[in-house]
Amino acid sequence: MGSQAVVQVDSSLPVLIFVVPLATALVIFLFGRISTVLREGAAFVGLFFTFLLSILIAHRILQGEVLTYWGMYFYVDGLSSLMELLGSSMGFIVVLYSLSYVAHHPRLGDMAERRLRVYYGLILLFLSMMNLTCATNSIIMLFVSLEATTLATAFLVTFYWSRESLEAGYKYLLLVTVGVTFALLGLVLLYSASIPYLPRSRILLLTELGRIGTKIPGNIVLLASALIIAGFGTKAGLVPFHAWLPDAHAEAPIPVSALLSGIVIKVGAYALARTITIFSPAFPALVLFVAVICSVSMLVGMMMALVQDDIKRMLAYSSISQIAYVVEGVGLGTYLGVYGGLFHLMNHTIVKALLFLTAGALMFAAGSRKISELAAQRRRMPITAFCFFVGALAISGVPPFNGFLSKFTIFLALAEQGLLWAAVIAVITGFLSIACFGRAAYQLFWTTPSDAKEGNPGEIIREVPPTMWAGMLILAGLSIAIGFYPQLVHPTLDRATNTILTLLAGP
């Protein structure tokens, strides 16, 4: 376990990382009407610089630094850096994919210029708010910026303005806003209880929560934690707060689904890691509560995924199951648990985005999202098929792919803490997901279409354009690379885990 000395350095990077995408979003909103250069072009430039900044931050963090700005008000450590790195790289892949997918979509219709402007602007705005969520150190601003990520993505869900997407968007906005308000109540209780211990400042810092947490009454911590789990759990999509998730994922455009599953729900997991994990060593009841909720979530999510014929809904329910692994690991508050949780967070971001993008490729080429209808088609899409197989194997936790490593770490972490029943449920869910994704892969790519048997050649569906499969290949490559060579990401994960462990409330 690396426990190198950490140096706090004053730097403007924590602010730049959200100001750059925010400025880009403004440029797109204001001038995106004029030409594609100021719309797609600006989005790429903004994303490129955001990505560069997140690399720069990750580099500084690995040197043993923690970046602060404006006193301690902005605070970027290993965990923030990991989230920002994932966010900006996913943003890049999603925008690249959108070039072909969204711009040429038949449902776009007239006013395409204006709607594309809003689309790219909102993606950049979301990225900015997400980076703010990860950079802020104030407990109340954590809520404010997290709520802003929901507000920024609402009109991305309703992008098609169809009956279904309107319903999904309304549900998403309402349920997540109400849910996250519970978290605000919890955060305010913590804030209020901490006031006597905030000598100079009026701000409760997330990094101070561990130190103050042991001084405030235990019943307040537990009540606040329950409210926070309900609130940020809604954002993350844990059962029973998940009602918005399948609809929003299924009715949003595919790149937005990839963004929702890959990053947006992870913001909820991040917020839980910043608050609940801090208290877990001091409050064993909390660990048990999180383990129960997560075990229910993973089982229910996977069983719902098994019975879906709609490929997007299947992937959405699987996300509920996978985010439960993340939260369960992170909620343990031990090195192994947090490491496994964050590792799975990273892997799920890569793999679920990959699966959504391959599903999008199938829908784009074949025009259906029902597995049964897709199975009956003749396709020649080798790249899509390869990517889907990598994604399906990785998410089911089959060795040697990346999903296996992180799931296995979480099994070990649960067993280490004596939560054997939870480890067993997690293993069972793993087998269920092999069944679920094995069935989908078999139906989609291995069955012979019925009309082919009758000697009817029919039309053969071709591969999607390179702007779409490029991102898919990058993600599939990452999934394989991390699976075979986990040392690639170990320093980043180790640093992120250790930063959380130093902030924990003493037992």
Binding site: I140, F143, V144, W161, T181, L184, V188, P196
Partner: protein, 224 residues
Amino acid sequence: MAWVTGDVIITLVVAHLLASIAAAEVRNLKLSTAALCAQSVFLSATFAAFAVLSQNPSLYWWALTTLLTKAILIPWLLFYYMRRLPKLEVKPVIGFAASLIFLLIFLTAFYQFVHTHIEFIAPTKEALVEPARSNLAIAFTIFVLGLYVVMARRDAFKIVIGLILLKNGVHLSLVTLAPTLPETAIFGITTDVIVAAFLLLYLTERIYQQLGTVDTVQLSTLKR
């Protein structure tokens, strides 16, 4: 201003609660919005009274922002969108008379329960004594009332009113529990509420334009 006592605050808070129930129960959406506006005015007045009582000038700032955003801006947004939407609420799952009786009984019981067992919720000793004790109980009661409206009503517009009630309940608990909260945090929280209300109202209008109804039960076609 010696006349501002704990009793004034409790009077204001009770008026605030009654206005909240009116906003939740009145079927005419114009009147319901007006009740919501009155509710926010009482909320703002409560903050001003608190400022006098606790000699905390930063609470005047709370009172002013509450008045501007919750009593003027949000009702204006609601009235603006109402012009293009049905004026009468879609009949809810629970009938109006039954709902009102249920609410009065439930809210009284809930208030009594929270007020008696406040030590489980109150994080500080200050919150255990009046008027903070009653305030906190009312804040949680209004939160629950808003939650009830969001869950039990079918009208998309009324659900937005419920959401704002819920947020106002949290706002009251903020002032009671954490009057020292920095201005940036208040600004952020208030902005979130306004933007959320605006986006939901915009979506409601689009839903009405496309489907000719604001009934969320008719809207839900997506399978579970």
